[in-house]
Amino acid sequence: MFNKDTIITSGRKKTETLIFLCCFLLAFALNVIAVITYKTPVIELITEIFTVLLIASVLYFFTVIVRFSIRIINRLIQNIKIK
């Protein structure tokens, strides 16, 4: 299993990039809301970009876990149906 070459299709790459972009936009939106809510300087939209990236990565990681879990559950259901 581990010595097998893996192929990431261009479709998968597009999907993952799109998902990460969505996560980034969501994190950026959170930063905008935080700047408005806590009345902090607008420059934080740039200076806190690494925090935003960190939050985006956490969100993306969260989607990976969710999607992976769904996939495993689907497979289990399909196996039960076949039997």
């Binding site: 935080a34 809510t37 806590y38 934080e44 806190e48």
Partner: protein, 422 residues
């Protein structure tokens, strides 16, 4: 002048009018270049623990020749002669003062002897460096200061903080007014030591452990407070006129006569309080002098300052903290006002870019040698030192008499807010 500027730079200080107005005694270095071929002939009276430490620094100064050492305790004298073998040895300080080729004396005996030795040295025409505290009696301290004025000889006291670059820089910053007015001063010095030294024979107990007895020491006040209280005068450019205090023996009741636990409050005429606490049975907080200004707090010993208002954390971080609090904290019953502010941790800033090599003692001794050679007393130094001793003695008196003491008129000299009006 150039030489003084270079010297200040070597100390890590930014040169300028600010530093010299804060520490005018640094003007003593203005003729360093002209005096480079001159030698000050010194005698050390009392080369015990502190005296020997001073000797070690003095022998490194090419402008110093130690020509005599004096001590009535043979082990101290022997140790001193190992360092300066060509110096003459005495057991009676009066013989030292009779030496024509002695320009100046360094007195590092227990404080009970300071006044007599200092006054005799001035009478003999010698410049004097005496360790703090000046004396154990306010009247004697005044007599010593007057002896300096009348003899016109140089008078230095072992208050090394006046030459510590961290203190000079911090004082310059405080005096600039940028950080607002001083609101309060808090000082403490906590040690966990019994001060006891080994005694070879029982009859030497008081001679060696003089710090522990009431007739030869005022304990924490003359040994430690003296160093710190003078910083308060320097900070405020004023002398507190009201003193109150309490002292007690807590942990070392059976080991000594002097207090091991003291607490004093000094009040300046603008209402600012200077608190002082010291113990001999817990060292956790060590020593510090904190100056609380309107816009910043200074920790002089650490050489740091902390702005009073620090910018809040970025909005996104505040949002995450709040989300975390809502998710995991217990339901607040008193609203959110009692919750700690989500401010950035205030680590403060150092007053100097680099940590100084010493605590100012070396520079203090260099200054004394310069002043002795040029026969010029540095501005304000004797006065600041005089009041440092008076404050520790008045604090001790307040503790002993359990009453609030006003600075006695008879002890005031013509300095700062005690200046005599024409």
């Amino acid at each position: 002048m150039l030489e003084r500027r270079e010297f200040l730079k070597k100390m890590g200080l930014i040169t300028g009018a600010g530093v010299l107005s804060t520490a005018p005694w640094l003007g003593v270095f203005s003729e360093r270049k002209q005096t480079k071929n001159e030698v000050c002939k010194l005698a050390i009276i009392g080369p015990g623990s502190r005296g020997f430490f001073l000797m070690n620094l003095l022998v490194q100064n090419p402008k110093v020749k130690i020509v005599a050492v004096c001590d009535d305790y043979p082990p101290n004298l022997k140790k001193a002669l190992e360092l300066v073998s060509d110096a003459r040895a005495f057991t009676d300080y009066r013989k030292v003062l009779e030496m024509k080729d002695v320009d100046a004396v360094v007195i590092a005996t227990p404080p009970v002897f300071h006044a007599r030795m200092t006054l005799d040295a001035f009478d003999a025409g010698k410049h004097v460096f005496v360790e703090k505290a000046l004396s154990l009696h306010p009247d004697e301290a005044l007599a010593m200061y007057q002896g300096h004025i009348h003899s016109r000889k140089v008078f230095f006291v072992g208050q090394q903080r006046f030459f510590d670059p961290r203190y000079i820089q911090a004082m310059s910053m405080i005096h600039s007014g940028v950080y607002g007015d001083v609101q309060s001063i808090r000082m403490h010095w906590d040690r966990n030591t019994d001060w006891r030294r080994k005694v070879p024979e029982p009859e030497l107990e008081k001679k060696i452990n003089w710090r522990l007895y009431r007739d030869t020491s005022k304990g924490l006040m003359t040994e430690l407070a003296c160093h710190q209280l003078q910083v308060g005068i320097w900070t405020m450019k004023s002398i507190p006129d009201v003193v109150m205090g309490v002292g007690s023996l807590v942990a070392r009741k059976n080991e000594r006569e002097v207090y091991d636990n003291v607490s004093c409050i000094y009040t300046f005429d603008n209402g600012v309080k200077m608190t002082y606490e010291s113990t001999n049975s817990n060292k956790f907080y060590g020593l510090e002098e904190r100056v609380l200004c309107e816009k910043a707090t200074f920790e002089l010993e650490r050489g740091k300052y902390y702005y009073e208002s620090i910018p809040p954390a970025p909005g996104i971080i505040q949002m995450l903290y709040d989300a975390e609090s809502k998710l995991f904290d217990a339901i607040p019953i008193a609203g959110s006002s009692w919750l700690p502010e989500t401010a950035k941790e205030n680590k403060g800033e150092y007053v100097l870019d680099k940590k100084p090599a010493g605590d100012g003692t070396k520079e203090l001794l260099e200054a004394f040698v310069e002043a002795s050679i040029t026969n010029k007393q540095p501005q304000n130094f004797a006065e600041e030192s005089y009041y440092g001793t008076q404050l520790c003695l008045l604090g001790h008196q307040a503790m002993e008499e359990e009453r609030i003491i006003r600075f006695p008129e008879k002890l005031k000299i013509n300095y700062l807010n005690h200046s005599k009006k024409a």
